[in-house]
Amino acid sequence: MAKNDVKVLGAWPSTFVMRPRIALNIKSVNYEFLEETFGSKSELLLQSNPVHKKIPVLIHGDKPICESMIIVEYIDEVWTSGPSILPSDPYDRAIQRFWAAYVDEKWFAAMRGLRIAQGEERKAFLDQVTEGLALLEEAFGKCSKGKAFFGGDRIGLLDIAFGSLLGWLRVTEKVGKVKLLDEAKTPGLVKWAESFCADAAVKSIMPETEKLIEFSKLLMAQMKGAPPPKN
């Protein structure tokens, strides 16, 4: 497929943008990465995702596909000659989707809270994050069945959903001076994180922790400078 037939609208620091990029790498699909300028939204983005106006957007031919995990499933269904991202068994698929949704809806919210909150509130978020990691450690044991990834021998849906958060997890550990992935409490996840980040589909696009820390300062400044949100 010609490179300019597949485009990803996104930004390098974004967890969600990483997901379709990993999926395309797994399928060895060449794509053009169109980076949005921080602080503004391009015409192309507003046209391709008029409902949410958010990245990532996959543009395949002239068709836009939005929402990171929906894009990943689309990629898996279109490029069938590459390795499968979802398992073939419907029950295993349901389990991967369940945990991916858990990561996005519950755990991600706790992580974001942990990055921003202070004092007692911060402790509450930290507890939620740690509890979540304990659940994910257990899920890893069941899903991986002794192999390197949630998907088994190769990276799968849940690896992509959760692994894409590792960059920001490392930022939280460093800046927040807290250990989240711990050899004692989550040994499976510690090893998994190493394997994930070292994988060929991930290595070149996982942002360096230091670069993310610099970027997060920009984000904080924007948040503070921004007008108060309307209710």
């Binding site: 596909i65 929906i70 689309y74 269904e77 419907p90 029950y91 989707r97 949704a101 858990y102």
Partner: protein
């Protein structure tokens, strides 16, 4: 493919209704277990220890949780029956997108109506209507969101229709006036037996919504 199917459910639940409709569309026989959400059963807590919510589909003893994940599971397992999702990957992505919109925008906005009367509630009502208008735009002139036939997106939204009477009586929200195409679409869906039989008497739903909301508001405001 057959085997034992059990659904842990709660009669007014929008999410439970989605699964009931999917099971009915596929003609699947199942045992329904009604949960008391103020006193969750050991079975529910065992089958969904993470979220502890209904619906839960238990197929041959193995639990599947989260309504849209359950519906996709049903579609994939009972694939000898007409599909709920389109077969084309792009159409499937669109279907998933809009069902996700129902969850993240329509449902979330509908919860904002659960506030005491005042500016906040008015804002919530406005937001809810906006989300329905967006759905109306997506529906266009099609008979169903799925095109000619009832499908995944229709299934994800239609349960909300069961609460429209309550919104009218309790909150003075006239959806028929604001989103006539949605009402026309809903009435079309209700002609399907699989949909109609999951709906309860609107007055019973009204009573339930009124009671539950009173409790919620007194606890949270």
């Amino acid at each position: 493919m057959a085997g034992k199917v059990v659904l842990l459910d709660f009669w007014p639940s929008l999410f439970g209704m989605r699964v009931r409709i999917a099971l009915a569309e596929k003609g699947i026989k199942y045992e329904s277990k009604e949960e008391d959400l103020s006193n969750k059963s050991p079975l529910l807590l065992e089958m969904n220890p993470i979220i502890k919510q209904i619906p839960v589909l238990i197929h041959n003893g193995k639990p599947v949780c989260e309504s849209l994940i359950i519906v996709q599971y049903i579609d994939e397992v009972w694939n000898d029956k007409p599909p709920l999702l389109p077969s084309d990957p792009y159409q499937r992505a669109q279907a998933r997108f809009w069902a996700d919109f129902v969850d993240k925008k329509v449902y979330v906005a509908s919860r904002k109506i659960w506030r005491p009367k005042g500016k906040e509630q008015e804002a919530g009502k406005k937001e809810f209507l906006e989300t329905l208008k967006t759905m109306e735009g997506e529906l266009g002139d099609k008979p169903y969101f799925g095109g000619e036939t009832f499908g995944y997106v229709d299934l994800s939204l239609i349960p909300f229709y069961s609460w429209f009477y309550a919104y009218k009586v309790l909150d003075n929200i006239n959806i028929e006036a604001e989103c006539p195409k949605i009402i026309a679409w809903a009435k079309r869906c209700m002609q399907k037996e699989a949909v109609a039989k999951t709906f309860h008497d609107p007055k019973k739903v009204l009573e339930f919504v009124a009671q539950t909301r009173k409790k919620y508001v007194s606890r949270n405001h």
